[in-house]
Amino acid sequence: MTERTTVPDLGVGVGLRVPHYRGVLERRPPLDFFEIISENFMVPGGKPRHHLERVLETYRVVQHGVSLDIGGPQGPSPEYLRRLKALARETGTPWVSDHFCWCGSSGVHLHDLLPLPYTEEAIRRVSERARVVQDTLELPFALENTSSYLTYRSSSMPEWEFLTEVTERADIGLLLDVNNIYVSSYNHGLDPIQFLEGIPAHRVVQIHVAGHTHVGEYIIDTHRGPILPPVWDLYRLAIERIGSVSTLIEWDDAIPELDVLLAEADQARSERDRALAARARGETSVDAEAVRAALCALRGQPAVRDPGWLQGGPRESAGKESDHEAA
């Protein structure tokens, strides 16, 4: 059974990203946990594994994946799951997560988080597979709501109902990405407050918050830049509903100095404390109307050119390294 009460609250963490390795390993700043992109470490050796081992000396690590493909025609590959599980044994991750999405068909992997139609067929497919994944990994498993840039005619329910049905039937956790609620609400004309009220609060095992990029007609979940005020509002609203739950800052594009990221984690800590205090008093710290108004006000505001997106930031790779002649 994967619910908020069956996994630990780790506090506030950040995504472990290549440009910060040095700063993290030299300074070992106080952080409750790091989240890693599992695929970047599902390799047998070399620098990625070396750096991960050094991080594990000091920090708790939570695994988050982008390539499981829970919803495509083929479904998760057994080889992928085997390697994922082997990595999970080494990191000691308290849970493993991926996304409500599909990644390709006919043997092609598109390396994107493509939206699913919200249909009974998709619920059945995803929940059956999610249950198998959780049993195979022998760890709590959670799926994350994604940002999306299209909606299907075949969808017969709102996204929050789909998330609820799958997590309940599969008995898995929900990784709630608050920024993705904001992005999808803007892109599809949804009410973010209603979205948040519709999710199964007791299933939330982790929260993501991130920056996004407004390109005019739509917002892209770029994980670039600081978290914007209305997303912090939504985050506090989520904490007021859910209670204390592990929170993670995602910053994958135009990655800033480590100190900027650490300051963002501090901000998350204080937003979380503020929301928990309001919850304890039975009050709210959020003006829901202001959140709705901020979303509406975005239409017509100046936008930037489409910068593209890449889940999980850069890989640590061989391409940037020149090699020298051995002595």
């Binding site: 990625p48 068909s105 092609v108 005619r153 061989a318």
Partner: protein, 271 residues
């Protein structure tokens, strides 16, 4: 095939199309059946957001892994290569790390490219870099484990080479070119391209960094035979068969080569 499978096959194929989807009436019509229009975008335009990302993401990933090829070709030939490659070999692995695995083989028949032999050598080197980068690290052979073997046992011994090592028999001196291109950060137009010259390399990992060393023909032939599981005796014979000069050099230097290879961690086991 289920409704969901059909929808996903349609989208998966559409995203790999090279041109703007709104120009293809068949796709436009099917997108209209499957995807909602919004006040700002048609269904095909919504799909187009994802299609652009497919090409951006995979082009970027290949550029990160093969900066040397991109440097030799320049922008327009590089883009053509990426396009033809991704159409012929769509990404299949869960990891972008594997995206270029079939690029060297693809280049063998990529007749449309200038400098194809040079590009092919660069592809072999850059793919070897990727393989060596995250290969497992095995402890090097302890010299004692061969010291106890008598001459006959030594001749029939098969040596296990490090998985973090690649042997490359190339026609161009590409490591130097790649380093120059990397330090020029993409502004390559004026770099003189090298003339052919036989380049036999061992690319391997020392600590965590990838380094290479050049080998003469005889030691390269010997090491290459060992990598294929040939016994030590037969590998030496293969090197001696190259010619009188090589045979003399094997005779004279083989012990030195071995000591060096063991010290560099090339050899990790003996069977």
């Amino acid at each position: 095939m289920s409704e969901l499978d059909r929808l996903q096959d349609f989208i998966s194929a559409a995203l790999r199309r090279r041109r703007d989807l709104s120009r293809d009436p068949v796709i436009v019509a099917q997108a209209e059946r499957e995807i909602h229009a919004t006040s700002h975008f048609s269904p095909a335009r919504h799909l187009e957001i994802y299609r652009e990302q497919f090409w951006l993401r995979h082009t970027q990933s290949l550029l990160e892994d093969f900066p040397g090829i991109a440097g030799i070709l320049g922008q327009s030939d590089w883009e053509r290569l990426v396009e033809e490659y991704l159409l012929a070999q769509p990404p299949a692995s869960f990891s972008l790390r594997d995206l270029g695995e079939k690029l060297p083989a693809f280049l063998e028949s990529a007749d449309f490219l200038p400098q194809r032999e040079l590009v092919l050598d660069m592809a072999r080197l850059e793919w070897a870099h990727i393989e060596v980068f995250d290969a497992p690290a095995l402890p090097p052979l302890a010299p004692e484990s061969v010291a106890t073997l008598d001459e006959e046992a030594l001749a029939s011994a098969r040596l296990l080479l490090s998985p973090a090592l690649r042997l490359l028999d190339l026609s161009y001196p590409v490591p130097e070119l790649r380093n120059r291109l990397l330090s020029a950060k993409g502004s390559l137009v004026d770099l003189p391209l090298p003339e052919p010259s036989p380049t036999r390399l061992v690319l391997y990992r020392r600590e965590l960094s990838t380094v290479h060393c050049r080998l003469r023909r005889a030691p390269f032939t010997l090491l290459e035979a060992l990598s294929r599981g040939v016994s030590l005796g037969n590998a030496c014979e293969a090197a001696c068969a190259l010619g009188e000069r090589e045979a003399a050099s094997v005779e004279r230097e083989v012990a030195t080569w071995f000591a060096d290879w063991v010290a560099r961690g090339f050899i990790v086991g003996v069977r």
